[in-house]
Structure formats: structure tokens, C-alpha cells
């Protein structure tokens, strides 16, 4: 099952420094600690939008895993993700993400997520994503 086992995490999530915090019901909490190499604007020290995009995408995928105990290991693929950026992430503060898979059907998982610094009520960005479930676990020739 999904846990803090870092070895199971995608290399790119590790490269971003993503950390698992906890799971509360269907709500998955993760964070991206502030780091200089994630900065998008050296004048301000604000992290790049790409970091937020990648972290939200990753958290949404994990949220599906968290919600699917019975079908653990089913391969899936992101169909789409829409991200709204409300404000820059505060420099030198960690980015937290809460992602929740709020509906699963046979083929599709629907996920929403919010990224913030100190309070979920004051978002840096929000996203909605859909995932196709049961995609091939190996590439066809």
C-alpha cells in the first residue's frame, strides 16, 4: 500500500524533493520543501509554476492510489489536468498539497487538489484532473 516508502516514488517526485505527510480518509497531504533550484524568478525567489504543475499532477495520481486499496497496483494514465494559479508561492516557504480522489468509476478517476503555503483557505493553486484506469502496465511493441 501507499506509504512513506521513498523507493516507490517516481524519480521525478524525488527530484522535486516531494515528501509524504499523511493521509486523512481520501485526502492525501504532501509537501514540496522550498529549494533554490526550484526558483522560477531569481529577482523574487518565487518557485516556478512548473514545480506546482508537476507536484499537483503527482499528488493527484497518488490520491487515486490512496483511494483504490482493493485494486492496488492497477496501472493508470493522466487524461487531463487543469490548474488555476491564484497567487505566487511565498519565497522560502514550503508548498503543501492536499489531493482527493472524490469519484471513481470503472474507467475514470476524478481528482481535485489544492496547493498552499500556510492555509488551505488561501490557495496558491488549485487543480482538477481525470485519470484513465486500467491502462496497460507495459508498453506494447
Amino acid at each position: 500500500m501507499f506509504d512513506e516508502d521513498l523507493a516507490e516514488w517516481p524519480p521525478h517526485a524525488q527530484a522535486l524533493g516531494m515528501q509524504y505527510l499523511r493521509t486523512e480518509g481520501r485526502r492525501l497531504h504532501v509537501k514540496v520543501p522550498y529549494a533554490d533550484y526550484l526558483v522560477g524568478d531569481p529577482d523574487t525567489g518565487v518557485i516556478h509554476g512548473g514545480v506546482i504543475t508537476a507536484a499537483l499532477d503527482n499528488a493527484c495520481g497518488w490520491a487515486v492510489r490512496v483511494s483504490q486499496d482493493a485494486q492496488d497496483g492497477v496501472a493508470m494514465a493522466t487524461l487531463d489536468i487543469r490548474i488555476d494559479y491564484m497567487q505566487p508561492s511565498t519565497p522560502h516557504e514550503d508548498l503543501q498539497i492536499i489531493a482527493e480522489c472524490f469519484k471513481r468509476t470503472t474507467n475514470i478517476a476524478f481528482v481535485r487538489a489544492v496547493a498552499f503555503n500556510s492555509s488551505e483557505e488561501d490557495p496558491v493553486a488549485t487543480s482538477v484532473a481525470t485519470f484513465m484506469m486500467g491502462t496497460p502496465a507495459e508498453r506494447s511493441a
Binding site: 517516481p10 521525478h12 531569481p42 529577482d43 516556478h48 509554476g49 487531463d80 489536468i81 508498453r139
Partner: protein, 145 residues
């Protein structure tokens, strides 16, 4: 942004590679950019840290989303030659195929540029320009907040 003002003063406002070299996250991702005519092509050279699915293996969807966003912003900066970095308001990404562990390319077109906001569409491919692996459309704010 200081670097944009500097590049413009030096008559190099279209030097998107110089801008990428100045952005820590772009260096971390290894993003590059080439300009031909009025078109900016972005490149994300493959490296292991971009992988999202080890067993396929496939690129992390987030890296593709990030490249789409950077591609959009670079084309927009090239078109507007503005000295402020456009702020992403929203972006919608469609994933069409999983990304192979090879180099990835992107191009964007500014579909509408207003005074305050621009609409930008971007496309990402790998081995063949007509086999897209992802597309996006987004809105970008051009004015100061």
C-alpha cells in the same frame, strides 16, 4: 524581471536561451530553446530524473505539463518582448500518449493577445512532430499585479 530588461537593453530581447539559463528551475530541468523565424522550439533533453513510471518507462506527466507551460511563456515573451515575466493564470493539459524516455520538443502559438491577458496553445512531441504526446491551452497575465 532584471534579466529581461538587460537582454532588451543589449538588443537580445528574443534570446530565450539566455533567459532559460538565468532561471534556476529551467537549469534543473535542463530546458533549452531554439528560435527559427518567429517560432520558439523548446527542448527537454531526457534524463533519468524526469521519469514518472519506472516500469514502462515513461516521463512524469508533471514534466510534460511544466514543459507546456514554459513553451507557452517563452513564445509569449518572444512575441511581446515584454520585460515582465507573464504570470500563468490557468493552464489545461491534455495527455495524448505516454512520453518515452527520449528528448521532448514543444512549440506554442499565441492565439490572442489582449492588453492584459493572452491565450496560448502549446503542443509537445518526441520522435515525430505529428505524433503529439500532449497539448495545452492557457491564459497568461501580461500586466503587473
Amino acid at each position: 524581471m532584471e534579466i529581461l530588461r538587460q537582454l532588451r537593453d543589449e538588443g537580445r530581447a528574443g534570446d530565450v536561451q539566455a533567459l532559460l539559463d538565468h532561471i534556476p528551475y529551467a537549469r534543473f530541468m535542463g530546458f533549452r530553446a531554439e528560435v527559427e523565424g518567429d517560432t520558439v522550439t523548446t527542448i527537454m533533453p531526457f534524463k533519468d530524473s524526469l521519469i514518472g513510471n519506472v516500469s514502462l518507462p515513461a516521463l512524469h506527466g508533471g514534466t510534460i505539463g511544466a514543459l507546456l507551460e514554459v513553451t507557452s511563456v517563452m513564445q509569449l515573451l518572444f512575441d511581446t518582448q515584454c520585460e515582465r515575466l507573464p504570470r500563468t493564470v490557468d493552464i489545461s493539459v491534455d495527455y495524448l500518449r505516454s512520453g518515452y524516455p527520449v528528448d521532448t520538443y514543444g512549440q506554442a502559438i499565441v492565439t490572442r493577445q489582449g492588453r492584459r491577458v493572452a491565450n496560448v496553445r502549446a503542443e509537445i512531441w518526441q520522435t515525430s512532430r505529428d505524433r503529439l504526446i500532449a497539448t495545452s491551452h492557457g491564459h497568461f497575465l501580461l500586466t503587473p499585479v
